[in-house]
Amino acid sequence: MSPGQRRWIFLAGVAGLAAFYLWGLTGLPGFGNYPGPYGDIINHVAVAQTNATGVVSAVNFEYRGFDTVGEEFILFVAATGVAVVLRHLRKERQQKEDDPTADWAIPPASDAVRLAALFFTGPVVVMGWFLALHAQTSPSGGFQGGVVLATAFILIYLSGEFLLFRRVSPADVTDAVEAVGAGGFAAIGVSAVAMGLPYLKNFLPRGTVPGAVSSGGTIPLISFFVGLEVAAAFVLIVGELVEQTLLVRPRER
C-alpha cells in the first residue's frame, strides 16, 4: 500500500472519529446538570439513614460497600503482583554498603530535602490517621487516609536512606498489616452474615448526632481497615521498587 493510500485511510478514520465524537459531545448534559436520580436520592437520605455527614464515605463503605471490597482487593492483588514480579531472583544480590558507586544513581538527599521531609512526616502521619478514622465526617475516608499515611513513609525514605525506610516499615510487618486491613474489611461483612444480616450490612449503632465520632456504625470501622490496607499496599509497592534500584544482577557487573 502506498503512503498516499495510507494517508487517505487515516484521514477517513479521523473524520469518522471526529464526527462521532462531536455527535457524542452534543448529547452530553449541560455543565453542572446531573440527570440521574441516584445522586439526588442519596443526597437526601444518606445523612438521615447513616448519621454520617461524609456522604462520600457513606456511599463507599455502606451503600456500595460490596463494590469497595472488590476495589480493595484489586489493590491487594496489585501489591502482591508487584512483590511476586520483583522478588529476588537467583544470583541477584544486594549492593554492598561500601560500594563506591552506591549513591551515584540516587544522590544523597540535600539538607533542604531532609529538613522538609523531617518537618512534614509528623503532620502527615496525624492527617493520614485523622482521615482514615473519621470517615463519618467530610472530607475523609480510608483510601485517602491510607495514601496520606503511605506518603509519610515515602518522606522518611526521602529524608534518610533506604535502611531507615526498612527499619520503620519491615517487609514482614507491612505484609501483615496489609493482610489485616484487607481481611478486616471482609470480616466485617462476614460478621453481618453471622448475625443473619446481608453481607456488609451496617450492624453497629449509628449514633444520634450526624457526623459525631461515634456515628456511622461500621462506616468508620471499615474505613480504618481500608486505611491500613491502602497504606501498607503503597509502602510495600514503593519498598519493592526501591529494593529493585539497589539490586545488582550478575551481568550488570
Binding site: 475516608g141 503511605a150 515515602i154 514503593v238 534500584t245 550488570e252
Partner: protein
Amino acid sequence: MASTHLATVVTPYTIPAPLMDVLQLTLLVLVAAGATAVALIREPVRQVVMLSVYGVLLAVLFLAFQAPDVTLSELTVGAVALPVLLLLALAKVKRREK
C-alpha cells in the same frame, strides 16, 4: 458555570459565583496546559517533575469543583506516589545503562 450548582447554601466562606467561574475556568486552562506540557517534555526526569505539578493542578481543580475527597487522593497519588514510582524506575534503568 457556578450558577447551575444544585443547592445554593451561603456560608461566610462562600465564594461569589462569578469569581468561582473565573477560578474554575483558569484551573481548566491550567490543567490542559499542564497535560500538554507533560506530553511534550521529552527528558524523562523533567517529565516526571511536570507530571507531579500536573497532579497538584488536578487536585486544585477537583477542590474548585467541590470534590475534596478526590483532591486528597489525587494530591497523594498523582503528585507524590506516582512520580516517586516513576523516579525509582528511572533510577533503575539508568543504572543498567551505565
